[in-house]
């Protein structure tokens, strides 16, 4: 039967973290050699971080699937549990999303009128907005969207 296994996602995340750790140690190494911490990432670090992100996303998708759908997909209609707590969580996340979006627009306007805003700040803000949106979707799907599972052949070795 179709399974949302968490073994592969675990190793995906573990290897992702290991690659980031390598990039970090590589940076320490370079700093030791150069006598100071360079402002830019080295090409090697960029490569390690990129593959780290790929592995991490692979694992995160697996874990989210397992949480949303359970470790196994049983055929039939599945009614969502609903509940007050997820509703409150969604309300808070929407507030946070509105706040972050407002801050983002404000930062653009500030950048145009008062002077440049650090690109890293804008990037982190955009990333936070996307993360909050993702969390909203995930919580909404888990607690408020009914599901129907059909019996289907398992086509792939990858379990999600």
């Amino acid at each position: 039967m179709y399974r949302n296994d968490t073994v592969l996602p675990f190793f995906g995340i573990l290897f992702g973290v290991a690659l980031w750790y390598m990039a970090y140690l590589d940076g320490e190494h370079i700093a030791r050699l150069a006598g100071h911490t360079p402002e830019e990432l080295s090409v090697g670090q960029l490569g390690l971080i990129t593959f780290g992100i790929v592995f991490f996303l692979f694992g995160a998708i697996g874990y989210i699937s397992a949480w949303l759908e359970g470790s196994e997909l049983r055929p039939g209609k599945h009614e969502p549990p609903g509940g007050v707590v997820p509703m409150v969580v969604i309300f808070l996340l929407v507030l946070l999303l509105a706040g972050l979006s407002g801050l983002f627009v404000n930062a653009i306007v500030y950048g145009l009128t008062e002077g440049p805003v650090k690109p890293a700040f804008m990037g982190q803000l955009a990333a936070a907005i996307l993360l909050v949106m993702t969390l909203l979707l995930v919580v909404f799907k888990k607690f408020f969207v009914p599901d129907e599972v059909l019996v289907e052949d398992e086509h792939s070795e990858v379990p999600w």
């Binding site: 039967m1 399974r3 296994d5 968490t6 073994v7 675990f10 190793f11 573990l14 290897f15 973290v17 290991a18 750790y21 390598m22 140690l25 590589d26 320490e28 190494h29 030791r32 050699l33 470790s71 196994e72 049983r74 055929p75 039939g76 059909l150 019996v151 289907e152 052949d153």
Partner: protein, 333 residues
């Protein structure tokens, strides 16, 4: 609990025979849905109160014990020809939940192993240390290399065995250029790089020679002539004023591609240690007319300026190919 309830009868579908009759609490009913067919059903609960009054409650529900088959390989309305293969798949509600996933201990051990290996590599691997040696200790190594004492006698033997066939018995030059007193002998880094890597045209690489042997060779060749100082004399006197004029033009017009130190970059060739510069006509031609992607400077520079810059590149950074005169340039225009 209501004291007025006399009995409760539970009927399934249209049956007149009650499924169960309850007369005292708890009014609990167990219905085994696996004993009734899949599909819609009705549960009728008739409550009879003391005094004869009755109340009826009807609940509709659906039994789904058997999973519907799924046809894999042929779709609704699909056109087919010839033999068609399809599979009918069914799920199993009763299948036990597969136990999967890592135990906490397994997860922690794997994490420790993987992250520990990464740390171990950076902390102890000889190849990780090599990087430290290569990059961190480069200046010290270079200084040390310069300090390698060459043995002229050993160098002479080596020269006779490996070099004399091309560069002449006494390094006076033959098929290859003269090395006695050549400026390149004074430049250890360039000398070693040419000997070990070859020139790509004419001279083969001698990568098997050790640093000590290279130092021996340089000691021997250095003992033959005056080294760097003697080079211009060997190739013809170079006017210092012409060199300084040439340097100015070089830095303005040439250095952006060929680099201020003549090392070149990307597709722009190095001029330092470039043996093609020995060909005076080639240098003048390239300076005047260029060669894609290099532009020609014939209409920007006078004969004197071209001569100055040609002299400068032919006699800088260890090059010692002698001067170029304005008359040479005029002849090539």
């Amino acid at each position: 609990m209501n004291q007025n309830i006399e009995r409760i009868e539970v009927y399934l579908d249209e049956s007149n025979e009650p499924l169960q009759v309850l007369t005292s609490p708890p009014f609990k009913v167990t219905l085994d849905s696996s004993q009734i067919p899949d599909g819609p059903h009705t549960l009728r609960v008739v409550t009879t109160f003391k005094g004869g009054q009755t109340e009826e409650e009807i609940v509709e529900f659906e039994v789904d014990n058997l999973p519907s088959p799924f046809i894999d390989g042929i779709d609704d309305g699909q056109q087919v020809r010839g033999p068609v293969e399809f599979e009918i798949v069914t799920g199993d509600y009763a299948a036990p939940l597969a136990r999967g996933g890592l135990s906490i201990i397994g997860a922690v051990l794997s994490a420790l192993l993987v992250l520990g290996l990464v740390w171990f590599y950076f902390a102890f691997s000889p190849s990780a240390r090599e990087i430290v040696v290569e990059k961190g200790a480069a200046p010290a190594a270079a200084a040390h290399e310069g300090a390698v004492a060459g043995d002229a006698a050993a160098g002479k033997e080596l020269y006779a065995a490996q070099c004399a066939s091309c560069h002449g018995q006494n390094a006076e030059g033959a098929f290859g250029p003269a090395l006695a007193g050549a400026a390149i002998v004074g430049n250890a880094e360039q000398f070693n790089s040419i000997v070990k890597g070859g020139t790509g045209s004419g001279m083969p690489p001698f990568a098997q020679l050790s640093d000590k042997e290279l130092a021996d060779l340089r000691a021997y060749l250095g003992s033959l002539g005056g080294g760097e100082a003697a080079a211009p004399a060997a190739a013809g006197e170079v006017d210092p004023a012409l060199m300084s004029e040439g340097e100015k033009i070089y830095l303005t017009s040439c250095a952006s591609c060929h680099q201020p130190n003549g090392a070149g970059v990307a597709t722009f060739p190095a001029l330092a240690g470039n043996e093609k510069l020995a060909d005076k006509d080639l240098v003048i031609d390239r300076t005047l007319n260029g060669k894609v992607p290099m532009p020609g400077f014939g209409d920007q520079l006078s004969d004197e300026q071209v001569a100055a810059v040609a002299t400068y590149i032919r006699n800088s950074w260890g090059n010692a190919f002698g001067p170029v005169s304005p008359a040479d340039v005029a002849a090539k225009r």
